[in-house]
Symmetry: D2
Subunit: 404 residues, 4 copies
């Protein structure tokens, strides 16, 4: 007997997308060298620059964001390069594997997985080890529900002429970002998180310094590979050709979500995520649950990580929400499995009071179902109390865009 | 500047439909005499019989449910016929216009618009006036959020050989219905209410007595008109022809929603509506608001009508919900405008705890926004407290059908 | 075993619609009194005026075009009114039933069903019978594949102060039309023919004279009925209300096809239909088949009616095309059944050389399959020979709209 | 001014997909660890085995087919390994770059790009060079419109215990394939060619010998990379986990096209491609054009490559078809640019007489437009003449699946 599909996918990504995105994704498939597709891809790239708020080149690699992260390591790191890898969670830790795989030497700066990196520590290490050439950092640690101060870290790195690789997969759209101003050389995002798109692409902004570093990679630049970012420079950026067949319908969906974000404006777009995340935390706390992040200031916009209550299991909470009420949320990931669960509020379809209320209400109902003491309505009420200046009409003043 | 589209259409119908319905509605357009369409229409008719739980003929007229209602009057009533019209709301009252337009003489049995018809009164009148040939009744009075005891009324009418015309436009799927067993001769439903479909069709079940009455209409049976139900008998039922071009994509959508209802099973389908309506009423009461229906027993499953709080206006409440939070609910209709507002919970996409929680939460937030004293979370909490035996997994055991 | 769906629906309507239409039809369902829907309906009405090329009021009735035709008769004709009914085919003949049903007296001017009305005959009759108050005419007789000189007829009627009712169901978009200039008082079109939309609506343009005539109908104006056009005046036109629930998704589809037509421009839109029809006739003739219309000048743009070759049956030709090649075309209709078959080329998705070539080729292949002598390729070749100035790039200069 | 989208994308892939595929691709986005998605992915994998007609493991890598090809090289080849690379076209030649990049030593067996590999030559070389461990071959050389005798080649390789890597990107669905029987160890296909799906995935069947070879790769097996096939073994195949986020909507589309192929049956599916390709070649020859492949026996099913007529340019032919008639075909690729153009007939939406007729007709019309002597209709006629036993009804006997 097949498992029923959920009512709401409120997991840590991929998340549900808007009706408009599904519809615009469904355009007929163009040949990638059709002039209409070339124009479409070019327009999409321009929209992506606006969403990144950058004038840097952007590259849309045709695989889920981990491709962009591995490609950054593979394209930049030469054997023996020293890379300062900042670790505040599962994804930060994992990046070390890419560093090693491509011959780099990792210098690790780690904090507990419910904490964020302190920029002063970055400065200290870079001062002490001037041969560090690269720095890798996760902007938004989805597994921990935390974010790192990428602005400060990037600026410090620039002082030391260090090339930065930023995993902002779940950051773009949920946190502010400014590649030039913040000194971020390679920033890798995914469409399926806060942008609310479909998975299958890596969205990368690349500074001139990063291009230069890729060209200088030893023993030779990485070319002729699915992992090569340079291939996209010599084909798409320089000649409007493709290194291989792009994922046509994923590009349709990407254009759609970029338009939706820009119609709202990136500032409003990010602030909506932040406001909903804040409300979610208020709701969680009102239910007597503990937030996983050590402090609210470092809590991410994309998901709210909740410490697993003593005596409860992932299955008890999550399966009840999923089976009885059709609401899918995420468990702890990797080393964090069993220690926390995560409430998602990403993307224009979900970073909204209605969906948050639905989610918190089903959490309350589920906790009660499994015998937890819970004052029904308390979480929703506390969340609502924080949402005093929400205003769809103002946010969508430019266009009623998510469904139309 | 265009008005942004709402996040949730929780009005009194048409309501939002499931993703599956939208998708299956979008099949390519067939010629109506294509053999594949003939089969499709036949299959859909068979599904409709199952949803009506009847072996009577069913006719799918190609216009919104009011067409079916007018068609029933036009096809059945001969000049001078006496029709007992039961009035417990705006729609019941309006039916009198159709009776008059087609030459009937109305005998009215009316109750206040927050009340339901008492079957004993029906029996009394039919006893007193044996020349009454027809009875018209509204099963679910959407404007009042009430329902009438159609089962008892229909059975009484049968005792007196009276032909019944039942407006179950918002009843089918939300309330139980059993044409043969309850003595309902012509029952007119709409796909866009509790079935969760798109508007544009009238769904009609017709007893042999009703067919006979149509054939005996004076001065002659109604044929050759968009209003003729008999046309559908002589074309579709008897010869698999169409009296005119059917609305192809509306039929696609209808087949989809009928399948979705039957995959859940009509009993579960109706009970879900009833459970959500009950929870909604609990939430409304917990917020210190008054229900419009005189008693909970007569409250409808499709919408919850809430008495307008003293000093508040429709605009204050509804516009806040719509503009600030993107939630569309319905005002009072016709004579009831300004006296109540209505929270919708119709159709498989909306008769669900998640959506109810979202709706009540936004009502709470909106009341607070306009300065009403409200304990945030209280409504949602009271609603959740009633939903102790919800179980999506059990309800969708046969197929996870709404999104897939 | 279910019948496979066809590859191409090239019938006499409803026809296949563009990918864009299917997609835009699939927007989420709005409540009809949602401000976003009110705006949408208003914008759609404005687009419809542009497509009709009129400043007259337009009304979108919520049922297939036959509703509009019956509504015109029902709303205009008072008992005893004399109506000159022009008959050049099945649909013209049928209109007489509506005239009779609503108490009118028919004066018939008929020609054989492969001919067109001669305006001089109209003038003669109107001169002879000055008490004729109304004239009804079919612009494009889909069953015969012919069109009538509505421009001349309308102007003559105006000279005699006669109110005209024009069935342009399959005319709008395929033939030119100009209500004011041509003296057309009530013109009824359908979206599912040359506009390439989905069936379920009547598109009506109404002159001030026609409104006046409806108000003066005896014994009283028709109001409070699904057949009433006046209801739309007092609700929608005057108060932005609806007489009943409109067919939301049909309106979405209508807006889409109106936009597509206007993006091309009505002049180009019509000329494309005419060019493809001309090419189709050349192809048919080159295959040694006979056109049904007596002369090419009166052949319609929407379908090409082909005289059934001696010794062949509808089933032989059409079933072969449908079963073996998945191409659905239309038989003769009503009295014309068995006498002709019809090749459709309606709507932006089908009025195109590619589809015409596919259709003619499958006709050729099917004729050969059933043993007819046919020079394979001859029909396609002859059709291609006429298409010397086709230019998609020019036609879509404003927007590549059908798929995007 | 934006370029209008084409009417028909008849290029060398990605190709247009069926309406059903577009619709089923548009399901709401599931979280990849939702139990419903796990089931969906598992079901899809099972369907893929049936389409490959294999019991070998299948892996669905989440990037366009070139990812699978590079992954095969990266996962199998150890430094110093000798690889016999069979070159009969652009794609075969390119594979050498992957061999080199991953440290292999290429032994090349090349034929002109309009020819196919002779299995006897393979046997000879493998006999002469027993240290050859791997063999790479392109099944269907899309740029040349040719196919290689993979059955014979694979069996010979097995005799010599050579591991085969087969690029059947445009082969699967258009040519027969039988991994076990033919001795194909790693076969890489793409959904966007003959299967008629959307690009973005690599479909790979893997023999036990291939798994073993990957485990034995030196200096160590390739793991922890987007290029690693083994990662999919340890995650998906062994533990129903994912190495990273799969491309949800691409998987939806894949499941749809696999179902569509299997509903027809793979034998019929392939034979349809072959029949249309044969008809296309007849049409081309009848127009006085030359086929690029040296012999018809080696012509591919996916595209028909046509030698560029003397004095004509790609732009003259292709731009006319695209701009004037909205038909997109493909140019020569890589070294073959300017030497040929390609008519596509891939996938269930396009491997059909209707589309072939449309394509050939527009080619004829375009040739005439640019002043080439051409007998209009001759190509279509010759193509039709070959299609004597086409039968949609028989092919779709199990289900009318492409549109419904």
């Amino acid at each position: 007997m097949p498992t029923p599909w959920p009512r709401f996918n409120l997991a840590a990504g991929p998340v549900e997308v808007t009706e408009r995105t599904l519809r615009e994704q469904g355009r007929p498939i163009l040949y990638h060298y059709d002039p209409a597709f070339i124009e479409f891809f070019e327009r999409t790239s321009g929209l992506l620059q606006q969403v990144f708020r950058t004038n840097y080149d952007v590259v849309i690699m045709q695989g889920e964001a981990i491709l962009g992260l591995e490609a950054a390591a593979a394209s930049l790191i030469s054997p023996g390069d020293k890379v300062l890898n900042l670790v505040s969670g599962v994804f930060g830790k994992w990046f070390q594997d890419f560093i090693s795989a491509y011959g780099g030497e990792t210098v690790e700066l780690a904090v507990p997985y419910n904490e964020a990196i302190d920029p002063d520590d970055v400065r200290r290490i870079l001062s002490q080890q001037p041969d560090i050439g690269f720095l890798s950092v996760v902007h938004s640690e989805t597994p921990s529900g935390t974010h790192n101060p990428v602005r400060e870290i990037g600026r410090i790195a620039k002082e030391f002429d260090v090339i930065t690789m930023v995993d902002t997969v779940s950051g773009l759209g949920g946190e502010f970002l400014s590649p030039e101003d913040w000194g971020l050389d390679v920033a890798v995002a995914g469409p399926q998180k806060c942008l609310g798109g479909v998975p299958g692409l890596s969205l990368i902004s690349i500074s001139p310094d990063a291009w230069r570093a890729m060209e200088q990679r030893k023993p030779k630049p990485l070319r002729g590979s699915f992992l090569s970012i340079l291939d996209w420079k010599s084909t798409w950026l320089d000649a409007k050709r493709f290194p291989y067949t792009p994922s046509i319908s994923d590009i349709y969906a990407l254009e759609s979500v970029l338009n939706q974000a820009l119609e709202m404006g990136m500032e409003r777009f990010v602030k909506r995520h932040q406001a909903v995340a804040r409300a979610c935390r208020a709701g969680v706390l009102a239910l007597g649950l503990d937030l996983w992040p050590a402090r609210e200031e470092i809590a991410a916009s994309c998901v709210t990580a909740v410490t697993m209550p003593p005596g409860l299991t992932d299955a008890a909470i999550r399966d009840t929400m999923r089976n009885r009420y059709g609401v899918m949320i995420s468990p702890g990931y990797g080393d964090l499995n069993g220690k926390l669960f995560r409430l998602g509020h990403m993307g224009p379809a979900q970073a909204h009071p209605t969906i948050l209320a639905a989610q918190l209400a089903m959490l309350e109902r589920s906790l009660a179902d499994i015998g937890q003491p819970v004052e029904l309505g308390a979480g929703v009420g506390a969340a609502l109390a924080t949402l005093t200046d929400w205003d769809d009409a103002a946010d969508f003043a430019r266009r009623g865009s998510l469904k139309e």
